[in-house]
């Protein structure tokens, strides 16, 4: 009898919980959307937003990032792992501290964050029109598994439910690239993703709209503004790495083992060229002012360790430039840094000195563009 009582009690609690969840989710439909306040203290430029908010296509954050960059005549820097923060500064840190450039450079970067991960945002958000973008192209994405579509990276940065919603009307070129990256999900998982996506949206009515409306300062705490805090992370050195901490024979950091992994070039893969071509065309259609940075490859390391692969990595790099030329895209050519000593920390990531050399090229381009 005692057991039955307990079971019945637990069942009742379960029912109350389910009713409560259903009740609040229905109430969520009546909670007004929270918008970023329009006042001088919110007129600055956002430095970055969370990948999670991009993945969910959370308009509160994506709209604020895009409009704040445009309003301040800034640039949005997009890139893969080479564009992640570096301890002694990356190229955008140098750009952000250059007083001759009267604009800020906001950043979104991550391993495997190639062009296709931005297609849903570019397709679905009207605020991309007129946005100035610097997009880093790393030739290592023509090597190994990276030379092909990658479900793991794609699903890390793009929710398939969001993608299906964003790709309206369907752009066939974009769709082809995205389909190649979409995980092959069965019907049950797809329904699950769709449910998760929409439940999350309803949840945001509370965690975001209601919570921030009650206390807007909470919203402020979730934002990373472009301000003096960013500038204080300043690169302190633009000199070549010290030879005690750098292996100049192989053009990598002293602690890096060139045999720890390999990046075999795959010039036969046309996937990255297709992706780049689609990005250029999509940006033209959507009015994005995009400038590509054609990144260098570690020519010295290839020459010493895998000389037989040097022609292939050169072909990968040349193919990248060929696509940019054929499509009439604006780009900053940094491929001549490939054979410069001190530029690379490993096979495909630059050092802070490499970042400084890349910064110099971007700086010249931006100054010329501003004075044009």
């Amino acid at each position: 009898m005692k057991e039955v009582y307990r079971l019945r009690f637990l069942a009742r609690i379960g029912v109350v919980v389910m009713v409560a969840v259903a009740f609040w989710l229905v109430v969520a439909l009546f909670i007004p959307t929270f918008h970023a306040p329009q006042c001088p203290e919110w007129d600055g430029q956002l430095y970055t937003i969370r990948h999670q908010d991009l993945r969910d296509n959370n308009p509160l954050y994506t709209n604020l990032l895009l409009t704040s960059v445009k309003r301040n005549d800034g640039w949005l820097v997009l890139g893969t792992s080479e564009t992640n923060a570096r301890p002694n500064g990356n190229y955008y840190d140098f750009l952000n501290t250059d007083t001759a450039l009267r604009c800020g450079f906001s950043v979104i970067a991550g391993a495997g964050r190639t062009a296709c991960t931005y297609f849903p945002l570019i397709q679905s958000n009207e605020n991309v029109r007129g946005l100035k973008v610097l997009f880093f192209l790393n030739p290592s994405y023509g090597c190994g598994k990276l030379a092909y579509s990658n479900e793991d990276y794609f699903s890390r940065y793009v929710s398939s439910a969001i993608y299906r919603e964003a790709n309206r009307p369907v752009n066939e070129d974009v769709d082809r690239i995205l389909q190649a990256n979409l995980p092959k999900l069965n019907c049950g998982v797809r329904v699950g993703e769709w449910l998760a996506c929409h439940t999350d949206r309803l949840r945001r009515k509370y965690s975001q709209d209601l919570s921030f409306s009650l206390d807007p300062s909470k919203f402020g705490e979730t934002l990373t503004w472009f301000d003096s805090a960013m500038i204080s992370r300043l690169p302190d050195s633009c000199a070549r790495p010290d030879s005690s901490r750098y292996n100049y024979a192989l053009n990598v950091g002293a602690s890096f083992d060139v045999h720890s992994y390999t990046l075999w070039p795959h010039p036969e893969s046309s996937y990255r060229a297709d992706e780049l071509r689609t990005m250029i065309r999509l940006c033209k259609v959507r009015g994005v002012d995009i400038v590509f940075i054609a990144g260098p490859y570690n020519e010295i390391a290839y020459r010493k360790v895998y000389p037989q692969d040097l022609p292939d990595i050169q072909q990968v790099s040349a193919e990248m430039l060929k696509v940019l030329d054929e499509e009439g895209a604006a780009y900053i050519d940094c491929t001549d840094l490939s054979a410069e000593p001190g530029v690379f920390a490993d096979w495909q990531h630059h050092t802070s000195y490499g970042a400084y050399r890349i910064y110099q090229k971007i700086r010249d381009y931006v100054l010329e563009k501003e004075n044009r």
């Binding site: 919980v17 609040w24 391993a111 495997g112 990276y153 949840r203 965690s207 919570s211 990046l263």
Partner: protein, 39 residues
């Protein structure tokens, strides 16, 4: 005794509703990892 039980029941229901509301209002912090997968 009857009212006491009634009051406890109402309090339990109110507490469950409040708990669910609190959980819904909680913002999940942190972000997606940007590290590399194996090549």
């Amino acid at each position: 005794m009857f009212w006491k039980r009634k009051i406890v029941k109402v309090l339990v229901v109110v507490a469950v509703f409040a708990l669910v509301l609190l959980l819904l209002m909680h913002r999940v912090e942190g972000d997606i990892s940007c590290l590399y997968t194996t090549f």
